[in-house]
Amino acid sequence: MFDIPEESKTILYNTLYGSLILLEKSEKEEALKIFGNAQNPCFLDNNDVCTVLLDQKFIVNDEIDEFAIINNRKSMGISDPNRLDVILIPTLDCNFTCKYCYEDHVPSQMSDNTENSLVKWLENEIPKFKFVLIHWFGGEPLLKLNKVLSISKKIQHIADKHDVTLSNQITTNGYLLSKNCIKKLTDSGIFNYQITLDGSKRHHDTLRVLKSGKPTFDIIFKNIVTLAEFNENIKISLRVNFNHTNFESITELLTLFPDNIRKQLRVVFEPIFGNCTINAVDNIDNEALSQSLAGYYLIAQKSGYDIVFGLSHTYTGKLVNCYAERINQYIVNYNGDIYKCSVNKFTGGDRVGYIDAVGEFIKEPGTYTKWIQLDHFEEKCLKCQYLPLCMGGCKKMRIENQSTGSICNLVPTNTSFLLKQIAVSGLNNHLIKEVQ
């Protein structure tokens, strides 16, 4: 429940079902009375406020187990039988040395034998699903462009043969995206890109540099514009990783792109995490961070950029906390090893299995079982009002912390502020529609 003092109104938001209602002052008082008097059901009095609270599931019968509903959502999300998610890493090598990168960029590439095994495995897997998402990741995947093109072509053939819908994405630093490269990628059906610019040129060029130490902003910026203008169906997730050094330059970055391509750019701001001194959490006050982020998303929206959830990947009806929780999700490293989480050095420790020469997924009994069998939620999550929006937090961190409940993913976004923003943005969207 959030007050809007300037309008003497109150927003009531239901995190489980997404209902959002606007209360006048007297109705708020009535609602508080109803919430505080569970022993005397208000529907006996034929009360209007009560009717809405019941209809919108702010009040439910005692026999409804809302935790069972959340648990079922998570089970359904994990076992999703309709989609296969495969993240492919053609190399762990990279032409950049970003200051905050957690990977070790070893010279590497997928061999022809591994490619053949991968394709055999996909020939068995793809027909089982209605929808397949292929994500190219690295390292820098465009260092091995030919491998990306060769495998993409084979995957497209398998999907077409079995009438499965295929969606291709690539996460790239954008430095090698020449017009020629863009043409080859789009010819292979890759229309979704995730590219990072860490604020304005001055700030980006201190965080994301070539191995030689040379700056990268100008080339990436030019390539993003070329990419967007190449085909209007191309969508680019413009990612900004921020900490205290570049946080305030986000506004400047948003002024730089030409108007005509902004609708193709979906902006995503992510705090730099980790135990390092350059992380965002230890260097920016939570409240300031939340408020500034909300402001930046608003500027982005008003400037014609595409935004989805604004502050966080948090929305009503979330089924899993992260893609890695889905049972039909795999990360295939260049050597055929399989992982679940992409925040990884991919050196073998967290490997959940591998693809063998005949295209079989051989599970690593210890790590695979630990990943799959982990409880849906920590004990402390069961008491958390944000659980329907978060769905239990990062699985990898939970395993690393031995399910002690010491990790909460909603930090650093400041939960109460976050929730207020979700509610207020729902209200604003409604008001915008009313005006239209």
């Binding site: 929808f131 990741f137 995490f273 980790g274």
Partner: protein, 48 residues
């Protein structure tokens, strides 16, 4: 009192993972939830 957004039903929430879901519904869900890209974190664990 004004209902800005009505409560979703479980059927609506679980539509994309149901056996009957068609490809269009699945695609729409992926787009709406911005699940097309790898939502990886970026960070360093050097403990410096």
């Amino acid at each position: 009192m004004k209902v800005i957004k009505p409560a979703k039903t479980e059927k609506e929430i679980l539509v994309s993972v149901s056996q009957e879901a068609d490809k269009r519904v699945i695609q729409q869900s992926i787009t709406e939830k911005a699940e097309a890209n790898v939502d990886h974190l970026c960070g360093c664990n050097c403990k410096c």
